[in-house]
């Protein structure tokens, strides 16, 4: 959340196992705080797709630029509650000429709200938004909800292990397709500057998807603070 992550680099490698392909996405996210309330940044994803029985095709996928603006903040002793506006713009930078396609081939604009409450005993995070697409593609609602619990007492700067349970949802308006993933995860903070996180996403709802359903996703990420 804004003001809490500082200036750093975030990577979050995602392995997606689908019925007819395996996909690996490696995004690199770079946020930058212009003011304490206003953050800009970019997400530069590299995507590799291996269809069953075919060769891997990979390269840079659709680049996203984002801004976050803090609308509300209430801070207390070792706790905070924040609401942010979130605007993202994706560009069709990924290749669509080859098969399988690396990019979506469309512009996407996402407008959403982020709500987060963090204390030394629990972290609750919600992200709800609407994704507007170009070229006649369907718009969709996206939502994420996560609850994080520290496994070890929060001390600084000692080593830290947190566990979290996340729900990631995607609701496409037309045709109506609803997917929800449940993702248990672990976060390990070995030192001041670096954080490792991993989670396993399993679909619990995949309505109206007849082909190429997701079997599971495995995520491994790092956050590294600069300066």
């Amino acid at each position: 959340m804004l003001g809490l992550e500082g200036n750093g680099i975030r990577t979050f490698g995602k392995f997606i196992s689908k019925e007819n392909a395996n996909i690996y996405v490696q995004p690199i996210g770079i946020p930058y705080n212009i003011t304490p309330k206003f953050q800009i940044g970019g997400i530069f994803p590299f995507k590799f797709i291996t269809p069953k029985g075919a060769e891997t095709n990979g390269g840079i996928a659709d680049i996203t630029l984002f801004t976050k603006y803090q609308l509300y903040k209430k801070d207390g002793k070792a706790k905070t509650f924040r609401i942010l506006a979130n605007l993202k713009q994706s560009f069709p930078t990924g290749k669509t000429s080859s098969t399988p396609k690396i990019g979506s081939g469309i512009y996407q604009t996402y407008v959403g709200l982020i709500v987060g409450k963090i204390s030394s005993t629990i972290g609750i995070y919600g992200d709800l938004g609407y994704n507007i697409t170009s070229n006649g593609a369907t718009d969709n609602f996206l939502y994420n909800f996560s609850v994080g619990l520290p496994l070890l007492p929060q001390k600084y700067p000692q080593k830290q292990i947190n566990t979290f349970l996340e729900f990631n949802g995607n609701y496409i308006v037309d045709p109506k397709i609803h997917t929800i993933f449940i993702s248990p995860g672990l976060q390990f903070i070995p030192g001041r500057r670096i954080l490792f996180e991993t989670s396993f996403q399993i679909p619990i709802i995949q309505n109206n998807i007849s082909t190429n359903k997701t079997k599971y996703m495995l995520l491994l990420g790092t956050r590294f603070l600069i300066n």
């Binding site: 804004l2 003001g3 992550e5 500082g6 304490p36 801070d75 963090i118 600084y156 001041r192 300066n227």
Partner: protein
């Protein structure tokens, strides 16, 4: 007689040496403490180790600060600077607000503050 004289002289010299040594050490400690100003800052909203690090690196940029101690659970940061480089309350408030947090009470003292948590030094 000569042996007794030598023993007494050695004893006297040892006592004198120990006295001098303690005097030097005592003066050095007093001088160091007197030369520094100790600051306790209440930082509201600092709720995770990752954000505490962000605050620590900002406070280390204050002139004269070589060590920052943070009590995450209490939302407190402790710094000290040479008296000649004592920061203003306003400059410290700006650092906290620019870091994305809410500033609480800021206290200055000529003596180190008592910690509420087990301290962890750099």
């Amino acid at each position: 007689m000569k042996q007794l004289y030598n023993k007494t002289a050695t004893f006297n010299f040892s006592v004198l040496l120990l006295f001098l040594l303690f005097s030097i050490c005592g003066n050095a400690q007093t001088t160091t403490t007197q030369e520094r100003v100790f600051i306790k800052i209440e930082i509201k909203g600092m709720a995770c180790p990752y954000c505490a690090f962000g605050m620590e690196k900002e406070l280390k940029k204050v002139a004269g600060v070589d060590n920052v101690e943070i009590e995450l659970k209490e939302g407190l940061a402790y710094i000290s600077t040479p008296v000649s480089q004592k920061p203003t309350k306003e400059s410290l408030e700006k650092i906290i607000v620019d870091g994305g947090f809410t500033v609480g009470k800021i206290e200055f003292s000529d003596k180190p503050f008592k910690r509420t948590e087990t301290k962890k030094k750099e």
